[in-house]
Amino acid sequence: MERSKESDYDRNNREGLKGWLNPSRYGWERISYWLQRLTGVFLLIYFIGHVYETSSLTRGPDAWSAMLELTQTPWGHLFLILVIGTSTFHSANGIRLIFTHAGKGLGKPGRPDYPYDAMSLNYRQKSGIWVALILAAVAMLYGSSVLLGGE
């Protein structure tokens, strides 16, 4: 059956979460969009957990030590290293997005020529995404040296 144009308008992001989690058909901008949201949700979960974790302080030294025993483990440290990486990427990529939203670094509009590369995804945007990824890796390395360095 032929689908009417009207029903196409009603599709309303029908893929939902599945479409959001499938960046395979998209380029760097889409991957960065996906990572920004994924890291954001992860950091929000960490933030809620961190607020709960620190509330153990009010129940005295024993409750605080018990909570620390739970988090100050190799797995806890690996989780914190992941938090460091995701928060660095989210911040650096977020700054790029603020500039992009303000129209900075997008370049001038041009005639669409084959192979129809997006004019907005220029070297500035691409390098912004790479800088965010490299900064995240460096922050994770530094975090590892502090957390696993045995200080």
Binding site: N12, N13, G16, L17, W20, R37, G40, V41, L43, L44, F47, I48, V51, Y52, T54, S55, L57, T58, P61, W64, S65, L68, Q72, S87, S91, G94, I98, H101, V146, L147, E151
Partner: protein
């Protein structure tokens, strides 16, 4: 007659708040992390050292500002993500109410910790 929805803040204004809270949070979180690094990391997490942090009023205020800024930024980010999934009035209003309620709950819970820890004896 077409029904018009009451708008308190436009999306463009909400996004400005989103970006301002992000930039402000970057600075205060940086100070919060630096406080963990002024002494060996494991020592900075000892009960007495953490309680001393909360007794320091400027630092307690810094923690409160982190709590408020991240809660606003984080839950508004979640609202934006959830609004991308579906667009209709019931969903949008439900998501807005849920995120504001969650924001208030986490700020209230965190503020309670800051106040109680500030009054803890050593």
């Amino acid at each position: 007659m077409m029904k018009t929805r009451k708008i308190i803040l436009h999306e463009s204004q909400i996004m400005k708040i989103h970006y301002i809270t992000a930039i402000a949070a970057l600075f205060v979180v940086a100070v919060h992390i630096l406080m963990r690094l002024i002494m060996p990391y494991s020592m900075s997490l000892q009960y007495e050292n953490v309680v001393v942090n909360y007794h320091n009023i400027p630092y307690a205020l810094l923690l409160e500002s982190i709590l408020v800024l991240i809660a606003i930024h984080g839950f508004n980010g979640l609202r934006v993500i959830l609004l991308e999934f579906r667009q209709n009035e019931i969903w949008e209003n439900g998501i807005t109410i849920f995120t504001i309620a969650a924001m208030i709950a986490i700020i209230a819970y965190g503020t309670r910790t800051i106040i109680m820890a500030n009054q803890l004896g050593l």
